[in-house]
Each structure stands twice: as C-alpha cells, then as structure tokens.
Amino acid sequence: MTTELQPLHGNQACALAAVAAGCRFFAGYPITPSSEIAEHMSHELPRVGGVFVQMEDEIGSLAACIGASFGGAKAMTATSGPGFSLMQENLGYAAMTETPCVIVNVMRGGPSTGMPTRPAQGDLMQARWGTHGDHPIIVLTPASVQEIYTETTRAFALSERFRVPVVVLYDQVVAQLLESIEVPPAEQSVAADRPWAAAGNGFQPYAETESLVPPMVRPGEGLRVHTTGLTHAPTGFPTQAPPVADRALKRLLEKIEKHRDVIDKSDAYRCEDAEIVIVACGITARAARRAVATLREEGVKAGLFRPLTMWPFPERAFRAATANARRVLVPELNAGQLILEVERLTAGRRPVAGLNRVDGEPLAPRQISDRVKELARHD
C-alpha cells in the first residue's frame, strides 16, 4: 500500500495530477481563480523535463498546447471563463484534428469579467457547446480536491485514448479548497499514450478503424501527413464531397458514443429507494450530499445523482438512479443549465424543479433540503 495522504489545494492537486499523468507541456495565461495551476506547472515541469510557457493570451495558450501535442507531448492549459471563451475556436480545432489536450476551466461568476473570485457553474453548457459546429468533447466535473486529482489524470487518459479535447470543469470553491487527499501511486496515474501510427504502405491518417480512433502520426518518424481543421478525407486532405464529409463528422461523434462504457462516470448516493433525486455537480453536489443525509434522518427519501463525466451526460446511470423517483431537483450555481439536460432525459415522466443561485455564493445544504421539503409538500 503506497497511497499517501497529502494536504493539497485544489489547483495544486490539478497540477500535480497532470504531471503524474505524464503531462509534459503547459501553456497558459494568468487568470483568477486558476492561476495557481500555471504557477505550479512552471515549478514542476522543468523538473521532469517538460516545458512551461506563459503565452500572450488564451488563444495562443491552447494553440501552443495543440502544437506540443502534434509533437507527441501530453499537454494542458488552465483558465477561467473569459479565457475559456477565447479558447473556443482552437478547442474545435483540437476536436476536428483529433489532437489530444486537456483544458481546465475553473468557473467563476459570469458573464464577461463577472466575479473573478466567486464560484459559479455558469459554463456547463459552454463547455459542451462553446465552439461552433457539432463536435465531440468530454467534460469532467470533480467535486473535491481528491476528485480534482483523479479526474485530471482521467482527463489525460481519455484525451489520449480517444484523441479528443477533455475539459476539466470545476468551480472556484473546489479550486481553492485545502483537503487531505490520497495521492495514488505514480504508476496508477500515468496515462497511456494515444495510439501511435506505424509506417506502412498506403497509410491514411484518418482511416476508419475498429475503435473509430485512428492512430496518430508522430512527426519525424517516417510518416509525413497533413493536419487541417478543414473537413478532411481519411487521407487527411481537405474534401467537400458530401458522403466523405458526412462520414468524417459522424465518425468524430460516434467515436465518443461507441465508448460510453469507458467514458461515463457518475456517483449515485442513496438513490435506490429515493422518491426525490437531486442532480448536482461540483461544490453544489457536496452541499446536496449533506442535505440528503439530513433529509434521510428526518425520514425524507432523498438521493443524489452526481455526474463526474458531465458531457457526454451519463444517461444510462441517470435513468437508473431516477427510475423510482417521483421528482427530480437540480440545484446549480447558474440560472438553469444542467436542468435542461435533466429535463431532456426525464422527458416529462416526472416533474423536474430547479434551485438556482447566481449571486456568487454557493448553495448551502439547508437551502437544498428546504427546497426538497417544499417540493415534497406537493406530493
């Protein structure tokens, strides 16, 4: 048993986990409340033969990460709302070119400059749909320092394996928490490399494969290919031929759907017999968990469903968790985003209510339990 307990700050855990996962390149631009990640990376990376660079803006930061990833490095950037907005174009480029990269977005109050030092969960939909066009993406939502560690390492594993950008999305409170966590042994954290292509005749960089994830070409080793954000044929070269374009986009989307068993992750707490299921993520999920415990003591059958993979939303587990529920409550630090997905999946089978806070304060357990009781009165 080599697991050790260590007190870590959320953003510090993110940086240490990235390095443990094998991240060897970080490019970023300072922004509250994510800057500690960059600061830690600037200390850690030169010690392990990696590179840290502070770029001129967030557009350049993600561009540099993708460039490093072209070269074979596991790469990460970290930012908050305004910077995440600037990254959207290159995020789509990473999705289109299937270049692995990890983007951390520490959510603060928005829109615009908003409340830099206050928590929010207003980027849930942006993280899924922020870049233009239909695109594959994976978004993870840790709720504790421990989970920041494990989800950051998982972000690298997923990004490499499926050649897709992965966003690690957490709020300012979780980012700034100091908690003792179990740091897993290094060999458990390291993410396997993306599938690498071997030179061979007739190689096509975007050919269909069984896994739908084509092996990637490492430059300098004999295969010379073209990488473009233009819609491309299996050859890697641009095309606008409708059947080829159709398949190109559908494969990108299907490669995520096909591997839902590996990508999905969620946590159901006391949902089996729950009459009311709360769906929440991040710091809100922690308040909700406390609320569930209190409600149970008072005899109210409440449960908590918590997506750790927010996108794609773990639909199957959600359906199982809410199968017997009379109602669903979605507390969140925004004006109502996660609730849209919950309503979509619930499809009118049971009432879904929201509980929203946009004043820069987290929801307290009491607010959630009060709301549950208020709803229960209607039953």
Partner: protein, 277 residues
C-alpha cells in the same frame, strides 16, 4: 566546385494533390518554390521539416509540401508552432502566414514570437490583401488601392512588418520579392540557418483579385512592378517606389545573436535538476 544536387521541386511536393488551387500567376507558388529550394540546399530531411500555416491562400500552400504539415487556425500559426518547437526541438519548424493572418488577427502572436526568440522561421507572404476571402483590405494594402472593402480607395496607413518584427526583438529580419527566386531562396536559407526567431517578409502578388481590381496588369506586369519598387538593402529607403511606396527594401535587414528561448529554457531546467540531485 561542389555544386549542390540539382533541385527537383517534385521531390518535395505531394504530387497527388496537383493541380493546386492557386490562380494563374499567384506569387504564393513562387514563394513555395523558393522555400523548397532552400530546404533542399540546406539538406533538411523532409521527415524533420514541420510546416505550420495559418488560414488564407498563403495558409493553403503548406499542404502541398511533402513534410509534416499543419494547417491551423486564422492568425495563430506562430502560437501553434511555439508549442511544437518547444516540445520537439529536433524538428525544423517553418511558419507560413499571410499579411492578414500575421499582422491583423495574428499580430499579437507575431510580437511575442519575435520577443521570445524561439528557433522558428516565419515566412509572411505579403500580397497586400485578403486573398482567400475575396480581396478585402489588409494591414499592408497600399494607400489608395481598391479592395472589396475600400471602394473609394484605401485610406489607412500600412504596417511595415519588418520594422515591427525588428522592434519586437526578432533576431533575424529580412525581405525579398518573389521576382527574385534565387535571392529569395538564399534569404530563406539564411533565415532557417539562423538560431532564434527569423522573420521573412515575402513580397507576393495576388494576381486574380488584387491585380485585377487595381488594374495592375497580368502576372508578368505585376512582377515588373516589384522590380520598379525594390531597393536592395544597401541603397536604403528611397522615395521613388511607385507601387509600394517606401517599403521594398530587400535583403537581410537585421540580424543579431541573441539567446534562443528553447535552449535557455532547457539549460535552466537541466541546472535545476542537477541542483536537486
């Protein structure tokens, strides 16, 4: 006499992509030839060459090169190249960008790439216009020129990209015209041999859109305009440049021996690691 092996451009092209997309007489094709000729004479292995380009007609040129080619996003090729060059110092990284790509949307990345002095070569194909999008005004469009967004003639002053690059700290700055292919090839060779950030402005012609709109004649006449305008570096700036006033001083305009960023970073990191042993 050690004559370099004869240059056959076909060895460096993805011939399966021919015919290419460029309009007849487009200067970008000439610039491509000069680049590949330089690569040939420098003996750079195609496997070790990485060409990172932005968006524009200039950006589309990269795809034809039989190397590791990356067609990135508009204005950002220098930022992508920064990551690639830092992660893979064994690769020779060349950026191909346009005047709009490099000086408008990508202007900030240019400034900081110059300042950082990472070992990269940036070739800016300057045709004074946004070619790909149909001929809108760019930061280098000469005064009074007609473009699709300056129907009464351009009233905005131009950027001198070389002076910007030099002021921002680029350790190598040069300019050459596509009219002089051997001179352009030699300048690109010098830039690629230079250790640090090298910036080369390649004076190119957009024949189909810019030339036609401004009645500058067919491609051969536009090339002759380059001759009328250009002044080798030794002559300094002179006033009688009818087509691109005061902006065609050619040759190596400045070169300094400055610490290369990647080397400096790696040396410091090594020192840090040895101190901790």
């Amino acid at each position: 006499m050690t004559e370099p092996l004869a240059f056959d451009i076909r060895e460096y092209l993805r011939l399966e992509l021919m015919p290419h997309f460029m309009c007849p007489g487009c200067g970008h094709g000439i610039a491509l030839r000069a680049l590949l000729w330089a690569v040939h004479e420098l003996g750079i292995a195609k496997d070790k060459l990485a060409v990172v380009s932005g968006i524009g007609c200039s950006g589309r040129v990269g795809a034809y090169i039989d190397a590791n080619t990356y067609h990135t996003t508009h204005g950002r090729p220098l930022a992508f190249a920064t990551g690639l060059a830092l992660a893979r110092p064994d690769l020779k990284v060349v950026v191909i960008t346009g005047d709009g790509d490099c000086l408008a949307i990508g202007g900030n990345h240019l400034l900081h790439a110059c300042r950082r002095n990472l070992d990269l070569t940036c070739l800016m194909f300057n045709n004074e216009v946004y070619g790909m999008t149909g001929g809108q005004v760019s930061p280098t469009t000469s005064a009074t020129r007609l473009t699709t967004t300056t129907p009464t003639g351009n009233a905005e002053p131009v950027f001198d990209a070389c002076r910007i690059a030099e002021a921002a700290g680029a350790s190598f700055v040069g300019r050459e015209v596509t009219r002089q292919v051997p001179a352009l090839k030699n300048l690109i060779k010098s830039a690629m041999s230079h250790v640090g950030f090298s910036f080369v402005e390649v004076i190119s012609d957009c024949t189909e859109i810019y030339g036609r709109k401004n009645d500058l004649g067919e491609a051969p006449e536009m090339i002759l305009h380059q001759k009328a305008d250009m002044r080798p570096e030794a002559f300094g700036n002179v006033a009688d440049q009818p087509f691109r006033p005061n902006r065609l001083t050619t040759g190596i305009l400045s070169q300094h021996d400055l610490p290369e960023y990647g080397e400096t970073y790696r040396a410091r990191a090594a020192l840090l690691r040895s101190g901790e042993k």
